[in-house]
């Protein structure tokens, strides 16, 4: 039985999510080889700063050396495998093991072996015991790493997603910084459930989040009418398969603004947003209601504009990153970062944090109801009959492609769609070395080939 069946549709076996054998295969096929987000440069601003993170599913140290370079290495002593850094965040000159005292530099090189000559003789080659190190690249302050030293560079891997990343994270002169340490949560759900949702599922919003709609947390046309010319009641949205499993959904407020209005951001920062972006990127970020997506496999981003989070009439924007780390086929650890523009005022940063925490934060209203869906999927589909069922992902396959845009990738002119979910799953399938899948009949050609 095929795990993904595109014969006349787009059906995905529930074994893809809840079969332990599929999960074990994912660890090798996907979580040893991809580029993974591990943190933001502002978390390790000074030489010697470190944080501990997962790289794929393996624990790593992310630190900055004396030359300012960022290193990512396995958080396990090369001698007996004891965890080296036991804190989540700290500052050090070296990493020393608590068992036999071996010590490693900030570049992961084995620098000292206790009683070296007595225990190992005069000819020990310590370089044999350097910590396994990952390949590291940064993009707009986001640190990515991979265990694959011979695969594509980050830019090549991101492909068309780079254009959207530049719009999201490259729009301020001095970039973003983290609003403190990430939150870690654990949920009894498969890692792909939320990742698919965040890849661009605009179909669920008005159902799952109906209370938020009732409470005015979604902007209404009336809320924003004073900021531009109304274009009608509909919030226009688009979804994009960027290739390689990366995706984005972009929804706009029903207004036109001239000059471009970046509602929710401090108005004094609007000119620099416009000057840092290409026209097509301005078109993405101006009058944005929400934009979210995923970098394959497990990083999701969300930039959201919300109203009434600080009382009637308030509005603000926030940027969130979440990383979904599979612990088993039905348990995931989620890491949550909140990013703010470095040059925003302290007052704005705190308002942005409140807007984030009350909606899309780990205890926010949106997450509360989203989690019911992800938990329910894991609870209802792990029996022998449930595992034999399929999920259907054909929604929106008849939607037209968007034309006349600068935006790269396969762009569709609608966002109540599973277009991006299919893009994510097609890459998952390719990486799992299953038969390549195609878009459902009637849709545009698959973006998969030509990677």
């Amino acid at each position: 039985m095929a795990l993904i069946d595109t014969d006349g549709g787009f059906r995905v076996s529930r074994r893809v999510y809840f079969d332990p054998q599929v999960h074990r295969r994912e660890l090798d096929a996907i979580f040893k080889r991809s580029w993974f987000f591990v943190g933001h440069v502002s978390e390790i601003a000074d030489a010697g700063d470190y944080v501990t993170r997962p790289l794929g599913v393996d624990p790593v140290i992310v630190n900055r050396d004396r030359d300012g370079r960022v290193h990512v290495m396995l958080n396990a002593c090369s001698h007996r495998g004891v965890k080296l850094c036991r804190a989540e965040r700290g500052h050090t000159k070296a990493h020393r093991c608590s068992y036999h005292g071996w010590a490693y530099g900030l570049d992961g090189a084995c620098r000292a072996v206790t009683y070296e000559k007595e225990v190992y003789g005069p000819d020990l080659d310590k370089s044999r015991f350097n910590l396994p190190s990952a390949r590291v690249e940064t993009l707009h302050g986001l640190i990515f790493a991979t265990w694959d030293h011979h695969g594509p560079a980050l830019a090549e891997s991101l492909g068309d997603m780079t254009y959207y990343f530049d719009a999201l994270f490259g729009k301020f002169d001095n970039g973003f910084e983290v609003m403190g340490s990430p939150v870690r949560t654990r949920i009894a759900a498969n890692w792909k459930s939320e990742t698919e949702n965040l890849s661009g599922d605009g179909y669920h919003t008005m159902i799952t989040h109906e209370t938020a709609l009732r409470f005015g947390l979604f902007p209404s046309p009336e809320d924003v009418a004073g900021y531009g010319d109304p274009t009608g009641p509909k919030f226009p949205g688009r979804t994009v398969q960027c290739g390689n499993g990366h995706t984005i959904r972009i929804q706009h407020l029903p207004i036109s603004t001239d000059p471009p209005g970046f509602l929710g951001y401090p108005e004094e920062l609007w000119p620099e947003i416009q000057s840092n972006l290409k026209p097509g990127q301005v078109d993405i970020m101006a009058r944005t209601s929400v934009t979210h997506g995923s970098v394959f496999p497990n990083l999701s981003f969300l930039e959201n504009f919300k109203t009434a989070t600080d009382g009637p009439g308030s509005m603000c924007r926030y940027t969130r990153l979440t990383l979904k780390v599979p612990l088993d086929e039905a348990t995931s650890e989620i890491w949550w970062w909140h990013l703010v523009p470095v040059d925003a005022s302290e007052k704005w940063k705190e308002r942005s944090q409140r807007a984030y925490l009350r909606t899309n934060g780990p205890g926010g209203m949106f997450e509360l109801d989203d989690n019911e869906n992800f938990l329910g999927m894991a609870e209802a589909n792990r029996g022998p009959v449930g595992l034999d069922q399929f999920y259907d992902y054909v929604a929106g396959s008849h939607h037209p492609d968007a034309h006349g845009l600068e935006w790269p990738g396969h762009v569709q002119d609608a966002d109540r769609s599973e277009h991006t979910l299919r893009g994510f799953l097609a890459e998952w399938s390719r990486r799992m070395e299953l038969t390549a899948v195609a878009e459902p009949a009637g849709s545009a050609p698959s973006p998969l080939p030509g990677r």
Binding site: S42, H91, R186, R214, G311
Partner: protein
């Protein structure tokens, strides 16, 4: 990023009289009943108009002793108004049918201990510290919990108290409770 924006309240004041400890112990038992029964509208009557509920992000650092949280980031940031408008309002007859995570409600029991009350400079105002464990059962699943220490500023009003602010330092490094959006 290490800017200390939020820290737990402290006081140089001495221990409050035993009678205040006893009264506050009963107050917190009654408060737990309201929270465990999801009677948020009544619970809101126990807090000041300017009430704030802050929970910083749990964090394990290499410092000794551990503070246990990052003063530069919050996990929860609520006020009386936001809890009224975005928490309690979900439970009304009009909204409960689409408040998916609240129907069926997560069942909770709050266990409090180690209440220590110290006087603050302002008359009839106290810093109350106590340990809290919230056991939770979501639907038919196994229980989960959140554990932390409350730092409440409370003020005597007549025969009872009103909570001016609550700052909770979570023990959980990884929040795995079935309902993280909770008044601990």
């Amino acid at each position: 990023m290490t800017k200390a924006r939020w820290v737990h309240p402290a006081t140089a004041g001495g221990p409050a009289p035993l009678s205040v400890h006893q009264e506050l112990g009963l107050f917190y038992a009654y408060e737990a009943e309201l929270l465990d029964e999801w009677r948020l509208d009544e619970w809101l009557g126990l807090v000041d108009e300017g009430f704030t509920y802050l929970v910083p992000v749990p964090l394990v650092t290499d410092q000794h002793p551990q503070v246990g949280y990052d003063p530069a980031a919050l996990f929860m940031d609520e006020t009386k108004d936001s809890i009224s408008e975005n928490w309690a309002a979900r439970l009304t007859d009009d909204n409960i049918a689409v408040s998916w995570a609240d129907r069926p409600a997560v069942r909770t029991r709050r266990f409090t201990s180690a209440l220590r009350v110290r006087s603050m400079e302002r008359p009839d105002t106290y810093l109350a510290r106590l340990n809290v464990r919230v056991e939770m059962v979501r639907q038919g699943a196994q229980p989960g919990n959140m554990t932390g220490e409350r730092f409440d500023i409370v003020r005597r009003v007549g025969e009872s108290f009103i909570i001016m602010s609550r700052f909770v330092v979570l023990l959980d490094a990884i929040v795995d409770a079935p309902r993280p959006r909770t008044i601990v």
